[in-house]
Each structure stands twice: as structure tokens, then as C-alpha cells.
Symmetry: D2
Subunit: 337 residues, 4 copies
């Protein structure tokens, strides 16, 4: 019973069907009729004019976006345990030519304007210190929380007021969106670019790098090509993205995962370390609880950054109901801390 | 009737079936049972111990391989019109941290030991000049010719004798292999790394970066991750590669494409610019021939690097027989040059 | 009366004389007779076989050293406010091709084995996280403290035990050495490379990048060239470095500066924020003290990273005695905190 | 008797005097009164508003300029044997994050509009091919010829018409200027940046990177810092540059060197391979002539890129008259080819 990560889930049926249907000879790269619709479909879904580049991983989306938004001598402000910090092996640094991540600690994985104000208060602004030029925030966060649209807007406004570009790592934006009950477009106001994640939510191998600043589109096209992220049979990635949006699979999949996580959150009770606002929960499993759960057949990761005994439990779009119920029961059986 | 490029062909049935079969929840990244077999299956097929990394494009395979084989201050010797030179928008430079491509002109797209000897004869060997540290050769070449195993061995020996690492861009290695009637392993002796291409030959979205120098495997794993080339659902790429090899689709697909090109070559007669040893032909279409063919519904690229009026015709694994026959007839109808 | 920084001091007479004497036509780059002696003179001074590369700034020395010691996908462990973090605008990231600095907070600017143990305890060791591959420590530290040889050895041993390369930013190593009363060689055991600073201590424009791992010498030579750090008239930089060592100016200059700082430290009393073990002191100037001192004509930098009201006072090799005495008296006149 | 290179000459008296005079404690980095005058003095000399950054080598000037003018995915058009191609070990690639040099063969080392037109005629303009974004031309060229202002203007106009930025490697611009009898400003119209060389012409260790596009000044300041090219005692480099211009040493030094080369050119007669328009001559020394000259005590470099038996003879600002006369006589004694 795997609660390790949603990124290892299967692809959902709509995605697989779309790939099968897109299997025809045709124009190479982005010249096909699926790719041709990406800008419109994603743009309409997000309620903003957009230029969409399909890429193969979330790491590629994040790094290409930030390399385009931040000069090589600039800094990218991010939460201290953001995915770009802890889980992408320096992809931002690599693709940007050496830009620096500037971690700012947040509560429950969230950046906030006060934390950003403290960060900038000690900047000198001279040529010797890396100047922040971009900010990235994760939706949902690496602690399983979601930024409310008002929070996104406030952080984006703060950043733009200082001349920083704004990016969102939306690897789990569908989960956040479902939790918040808002339209996707409410989460992307004020962004310059978005890593629009599908893979964790039932996709097969395509993420969408969404650019809102049209003036950077040509540059990003070149950067994507030289990063080896422009497949010759682009129709497959485009079809997958279209299917996720147009069939509504994005919402159904996220809703399933969120609902499972919500049930587990109730069961976890006081062991919860962060609010559960997407499909992940972080729990304190000290006192033998981790071993107990593993002994019952549940697999999950320890999460040391949240302290000794911390663990992460992730519900995927395809986690079977019986497994969720079994874990729910097991959590309830744990002794209080 | 498209003779533009094999890279826009469909995926072959074996590949699509493999993807459907691999669609299960499981371990993320490379932890699945398909990925686990890659080293053995590819290694056996090539007759050498190998470490195999699935990546999303040939550009990624080439650039990651060369970034691992060549230091950032080194040069990569290559044919003057190699794919890394003309068609990858500086991916090698990007991923290597600024290594330089050192083009050496070859006859019919092929490097040769005499040409390499002329190249090295004018090198100074001081610290001011970019020192060559790697060599890459393309199989089949960008001019549609194939290196005989003896040629590969001679070039690799020359390179290794000077301390250069050796890489092969095998985007069309299946076509070369079928043409030469040799075992794949005969083409990779003396290499440090191989970009093992499948996509042009009926794949969907996976190329194999094959490393023969085990000592570089850890480094390449980190480089691949930070290049955004390590998908979380690695099973799909691995399954695709396994299917191409284990079903024999690689050979059948290449044989079809080669046979078509061979027929067109005969029909092209004296208009041929290079020997046809794979699935591409390069023809002199001056005197109105290009317009005539396009007027009959054939699409193809001009190929200015081969001179005014030059064009490239590519037969894919799925180019329909009637289209090949139609082009064959049309070529025969062209007036002599 | 400037207590802003030692890096703006004059060049000492021995250095200027050496430059005048080296002004002859001769061999370019490193082919001259001064450059030819660098390895031996510096190596003897440090008691280790060394390969010495003269460069133009401490930033260049640090970044070239770390780019050579750490792969682009690796991390460089350093103190949280190291010069490479706060004062070099991402030079390490730039020259390394995107390596990441991994800051570890230290007491009074010093890394320690317990702090390093806490840092490594939460590393996962997978391919997704930047793997530390080098460590750099500053001598003297950015807080004006000095590592005792035993401390250097312990940190270096810890690092080497994990396979990390070890570098020292010795921008003020002379000051540390004089304070500790040790031989320079006692401070460099266990290092792979040293940025041997002279400019702050009376030099004009040359720092020595000292490499102890001979196997990296060729690579570093290429990296230095392409970084634009190999001047055609290398004799001037070499002569300057030789003069600093062979005339004993390094010791005399550092001793003057240290002695001044020590007097100021006594005068600062409880306002001191860190032990004074070189030529810098950090003081708490709250309660109007900063304004008072500036009103008397002393210039110095605020030092926000040490808290509100913190300031840095630096004594240079050529700070006039009367100015030191004046500041000493002024500090004594400050009201107690 | 050294005719190897002007880059190994002594520093001229005016430069040395300026350095001695600038030796005072003061503001660090660029805060001193010499640095403060750079923009005005150089700008006035060139007749254009300019922002001037002193750097330590010509390689640094070229690479920083081109890294600022060309995006990492772009190409830098240059003559096939430009210094950036043959003599800087990939500095442009390193500092730009992987931009590519695009060599265009020129006659006698000079780019020309027709050659550029042939180059662009075969560009495809798609995302797969490195797009040229900058052009650099060398004044004087690597073959010892000089671009007339009309030629510079035509090439710059061609480049700007295609959206390329324009840079001049002016390592020997003084020599070109003296030969042409023009004002320096006539050579820099239409440029975005200039590497203004002094070291080969009697400087000690400072080159001026001159930026004409003010909009790039902030970026260049950051890039220079992180390249380790911003010395803490910037006054020394600034003073040197000011002295070269304000004392007229630039002209006197170049005139001496040019005159010597002109005399040698006459003596070389039909052995000359290129017009002599600066301080270098390239000669065909086949038939034992090279050995004969070396046997008489003259040292110089073979110049294989100009063919077998080719050699380069360079006259420096301080090459003694008797040595010039001796070589003149020796050249006259050589048998005709």
C-alpha cells in the first residue's frame, strides 16, 4: 500500500486514450494540430493570454521558467524547502547559468509578505551581493498547504514592486485549486510564468510551462530547444495536456486525492504537522508509529526536515479506496503522542 | 506525401502497446521493473556492459553525453554539419558549461582519420587554445551515409590515442546497422557513450543514452536529473525502449525505411549528391525539379548546405508504399541534369 | 579616518618596488623568471608542494578554486555568511557552471564539526538533492575570528571523510597566522586549494590561488585562462606575491593591523560581538554610538547581519597610529550598553 | 631579439608613474577619484557617451562584453581566426553560458559585408539553429590589417540591420588608429561595446571594457563582479588607463611599433602574406628562412594557420631600434622565394 508519492501513480485513462488517438504521422516538433491548440486551451482555462510549452518534467518546467525570468547573476527567492531547493539537484542553477536560490523560511511551507520583508531588510543592494530578480512559490506547497488567491496576489505584488519576476511551481496546482474551490485563473494573476503540473495528477509524461509575458516567448523557445525539451513528436505531449484539461480529469483526479488526504488528516489527529490543504499529509510518527504502520504494509517516506519521526503520506489520483480506508483505520489505532 | 523527416512519423504498434502495458502505479523515477531491465537488455543487444539512461530527446542524449565526456574548457570534434552543430541550438554548449564544438569537414558527412590528422596538425597545444577532449560521430551521418565498423574503429582509435573521449550520435543507428548488415555491437566498439535513437525509427518519446564507461555513471545520473531528463514515471520510457529492441521492431522499421530510400536512390540517378546508406537521400533538384515534385504533392526540405537546388528526401518507418512508389516514378520523370 | 575596509589600503613599499623592478620586456604570460619561482617560494613558505596561479582578485581565486574542486552538480559547504555567499555576486555559481553554496551557520563565523554533522544528518543522498562535494572555510573568518590549526584539521578531516574537497578562503590568512603565532603551513594541512590573499594585506593587485592537488593543475590552468585571469604580463603579479613573502611584509603588515584591532577591542569592551582574532572587530553601536563615532570623523560599515546597531571596524596594514589611538579613545568614551 | 609578441613588452614610463602616484589609501573598488574620471576621459577620447569598466585582461574584456551583448542561446559572428576563436580558450562560451562563436572566413583577417551575406544566406532562422545575435570584429585584425572607418560602419550597419549587437576587440586599436590616421572615435561608431586594449601597447595590467549602450551598464557591473574582474584597489587600473590616454602614450607607443613593422614590411618584400597596417607582419619563411633568422638570434612564432612556413613578427612599443634594424637587414638578406 503505497503512500510514497503521487508522482509514481499510473496515467489516467483519458491521457492514455489521447496518446493513442494522437498517434499519426504528421508535422514534427510543435507543428501538429494538438500543439496548435495548447495556447488557446490552457489560456482559456487560466483566463489569461498564454504561451504554452510542453516539457517532460516539472524540474524542466521550473528551471526553464526561472532561467528565462532571472538573469544568471540574479537570485530567485523561494521557500526554504521548495522543490527547486531540495529535489531538483540544482536544475535552476544549471539552466540559468548560475542564478542563486535565496531560501526564505515560511510557516507550513508558505512564503509570506512579512517573511519577505525581513529578507529584503538586510539586503545591501550593492554589486557584491546577489540581487534577487525573481520569486517562485509552490502551489500546493511542499508542506501540503495551499496559497489562497489573496496570498498569491499579495506575494506577487510585493515581488513586482521590487522588480522581481514571479513564477509558480504548480506541480500540484490542481489539488490546491480543488481545495480552495476557486477557478484556476484566480491562482495565476500576477504571475509571469507557471509550471503547470499534470504528471502527479494522472498525466504520463507532459508538464506545461505557461508563459504569461509574451515578450519572453522567443527566448524561452530557444532555451527549451537547447535544453532538449522540444520533442520531435510534440503531438503526444500536447494531446496529453489537452486531455487533462478538456475532459475534466484534472479536477476529478485531484478531488479524489484530496478527499483521501482529508480523511487521513482527520484520522491522524494531533499527529498532524501541517494543515492538509491538498493531497499530502505530514505526520509525527514518533513513539513507534512509523514502524507500526510499515509493519502493516504501508510504505511512505520519512520527512526529516520536519523533525525526528516526521513522515509524509501522499494520496494519489489512483490510490484505491480500500487502501485509504486501511490507512485511515491504522492511523486511528495509533496511540496518542 | 511527406518526405520531410522521419522524426515526425507515428509511433509503431509495439511501442504503443508497451506503453499501455506499463501503465500501472509503482515505483517512481527509475525504480520500476522496466527500468531495471534496461542495462541488461541494451547491454546484451550491444554486446557490451552498459549503463542506460532514458531521456526525452536526441538533443538531450547528445548534450548530456558530451557534457559528461568533455570538460567545460574542452572541445568536441565533430563533422562540420553534425546535428549537434546545425540542429540543436547549442545544447552541447549549454549542458557542458561552454565546451566548444570543433567542426571538421568530411566527405559525404563522414569524418575520416586523414581529415582529423589535418585538424590536429595545426593545433598548438597551449593553454590559450581550446583543447579537444572528445569526438562525436553520427551514425548514420547527416548526409545519409553510414560508417563501416572498420571506420568507426579507426576514428575511435585515433581519438583515444589523443586522450579524447568518443561519442556516437546514433539517432539513425538502426538504419546504418541494417544497411551494413552487421550486429549493433560492431558499431559501438571503442565508444564511451552512445545516443541510441529510437524516436525517428518508430518510437514515441524515449531515446537511450548508453554509457560504456561505468566510472562516469554517477556523474551522468546527477547531470540527467538536473537537466530535467529524469521523469517520475520512468517506466513508460523504459518500456518503449525495451519494446523496440525485444520485438525486433528496430530492425523491421529501419529495413522498411532503408528499402524505400534505396529505391528512390536508383530513381534519382545522377541527381544523387551522396551515397544512400540509410533512409535519407540528398538530391540536386535544380532546373525546376523541386517545383515539379512539390507540384505533384511531395513535401521535403531544401538542403542549402549541399548547394543551391539541393534537397533532402527522408523515408520513415511508416511511409506508405504507394507514396514511395509515387515519388520513385516522379523522380524517374525528372529530366536529366 | 577610514575603518571601512583593509581592501582599500595602499600597496606597501615592497610591493611597489617589486613591480618597478619587474618592468622589463620578456616572456609573456607565465614564462617569466618571477612566475617561474612562484611554486617554489609559496610552496616552501607553506611547507607543501604547491602549484601557484596568480589571479587578480580574491573572488577569482575562490571561484576558480571551487569550480575546480566541485562538479557543477555539486554543493559547496560554507559558513552562512562566508564571502562567497554574501560578497561575490555568485562568482562560484558562475565559474562552476551552477554548483550550489550550502550555508551552514557557525558561531562567530566559524564552521565546526558538530554543525557539519547536523547538516549532513538531514541529507538524503539521492540523485534529487544537490550532493555536497566541497567545503570552504575562511581564514580569518568573516566575523574576525581565526581557526586554530587543530580546528582546520578537524574540519578538513570531516570533509575528506565524506569525499569532499577542501578549500580555504585565505583572504586574511596572514592576520590569522600572526594571531595564532603559528607557521603558515600549520593552517593548510588537509587542504586541496587555498586562496592566498595579499591584496588586503598590502598587495596591489595579485592574489595567489594555491593548488595542493597536482592532478588538478592542468584543468585549473585552462579554467584560469578562460576566466580571463591569465595576464599577458604575468611577471607583475608574480613579483608582487614574491615580494610579500620574501621581504616578510606579509607578517609585518598583518602584525600592525592586528595590533591595532587588539587595542580597539580592549577599548570596545562589552560592545564587542565576536572575539577579535585578526584585524577586524564587530561592535554593538546601539544607543547613538554609531552616530557619535561618525560625528567624530570615523567611517565604517554597518553590519546588519550581526543585528541592529552592529558595525564593523577594520584596521589595515597602513592605518596610521594616530587614527587608531583616536578611535581607541573614542570607543572608551562611549557610554556602556 | 624578441619579435614574439607585443603582449610581453614592458609597461611604459607613464603607466608606471601613474601607478606610483595612485598609491594611496582611499575608497575601495571603483569609489576612487581615478575610477570616477574613466567614463568622461574615455568617452571624450572616443567622442561618445560611454561607461567604462577596467578589467585585467583582453580575454576578460571580450568575454564580458559578448556575454552581455549575446544571450546564452545566441551566436557571435566573428572572423575565423579571431582572438576569441583561437586564443582565449573558450572564454566567450564560459562567460556567456554557452553562446557559440560563428566563424566567418575573411580575407587578410577581415570580415566583409559580402562574406557576411554569404553566411546569413544559409541560415534557416528556426529554433533548432543557433541564431546569431552579436558580431565581433578585431581592430587591428589577427592578420595585422586594419578596418577603415567606412568598413567598420558598413559591417556594423549590416549587423544592426539584422538585430545583432556589435562589439570590437580593440586589443590593437591604437595601432590601427595610428595607421589610419583617424580619430579613435571614427572607429567606434555603431558599436555597442569595445574592448579597448592598452596592455599590448605599453600598459601594465588594465584593459578598458567600454560600453556604449547605457541600458546594459547595470548588468555588466554585476557580470564583471562575479567574473572576479572588479579589483578592490580599482584606482590602479583606472590610473593606468587614464595615463595612457591623457599623456598621449597610446599614440606614441603605437607609432613606434607601427613604424618598425612598416620598415620590416618593405624588407620582407614578396614574402609578405598580408598588408601591414599595424605592428604585426606575417611572412612566408619557407626555404630555410625561418631557421636562418632564428640562427641570427631572432625569436618569433610560426603561424601555421597562414600555411606551411608562415611566421609572425611583432614589433612592440619598446622594441629597440637596433633590433628592428637588424631584423630589417636580415630580412633583406633572405633569398627570394
Amino acid at each position: 500500500m503505497r503512500f510514497l508519492s503521487d508522482n509514481a501513480a499510473a496515467a489516467c485513462p483519458e491521457v492514455l486514450a489521447a496518446i493513442v488517438q494522437a498517434n499519426e504521422a504528421g508535422a514534427g516538433y510543435d507543428g501538429d494540430r494538438w500543439s496548435a491548440r495548447l495556447d488557446d486551451v490552457v489560456g482559456s482555462w487560466l483566463g489569461r493570454e498564454a504561451r504554452v510549452f510542453a516539457v517532460g518534467t516539472g524540474t524542466a518546467a521550473n528551471a526553464l521558467a526561472l532561467a528565462t525570468l532571472c538573469p544568471p547573476y540574479g537570485g530567485v527567492v523561494c521557500e526554504a524547502h521548495a522543490h527547486v531547493v531540495d529535489d531538483e539537484c540544482g536544475a535552476v542553477e544549471a539552466m540559468s547559468g548560475g542564478a542563486r536560490l535565496c531560501p526564505v523560511a515560511g510557516a507550513h511551507g508558505k512564503l509570506s509578505v512579512p517573511a519577505l520583508e525581513r529578507f529584503v531588510a538586510v539586503l545591501r543592494g550593492d554589486v557584491h551581493q546577489t540581487p534577487p530578480r525573481a520569486l517562485t512559490l509552490s502551489q500546493a506547497t511542499e508542506s501540503g498547504t495551499a496559497y489562497h488567491p489573496v496570498e498569491v496576489d499579495a506575494i506577487a505584488a510585493f515581488a513586482r514592486g521590487r522588480g522581481w519576476r514571479v513564477h509558480m511551481d504548480g506541480a500540484r496546482i490542481a489539488n490546491a485549486c480543488v481545495h480552495l474551490g476557486c477557478a484556476p485563473g484566480e491562482l495565476v494573476r500576477g504571475l509571469d510564468a507557471l509550471s503547470l503540473g499534470f504528471i502527479k495528477n494522472g498525466g504520463l509524461g507532459a508538464e506545461a510551462l505557461v508563459l504569461f509575458d509574451m515578450g519572453l516567448a522567443e527566448e524561452l523557445a530557444f532555451r527549451r530547444k537547447r535544453a532538449g525539451q522540444m520533442p520531435s513528436k510534440g503531438r503526444f505531449r500536447a494531446a496529453e495536456i489537452l486531455a487533462m484539461i478538456e475532459t475534466g480529469a484534472w479536477r476529478r483526479n485531484a478531488a479524489h486525492a484530496n478527499a483521501g488526504a482529508a480523511r487521513l488528516a482527520v484520522a491522524a489527529g494531533t499527529r498532524l504537522l501541517h494543515p492538509v490543504e491538498a493531497n499530502e499529509l505530514f505526520v509525527d510518527l514518533r513513539g513507534g508509529a512509523a514502524d507500526a504502520l510499515r509493519g502493516e504494509g504501508f510504505s511512505f517516506y520519512d520527512w526529516l526536515q520536519d523533525g525526528p519521526g516526521a513522515a509524509r503520506l501522499v494520496v494519489a489520483w489512483d490510490t484505491p479506496e480500500p487502501q485509504i480506508s486501511a490507512l485511515e483505520a491504522a492511523l486511528r489505532r495509533l496511540p496518542p503522542l
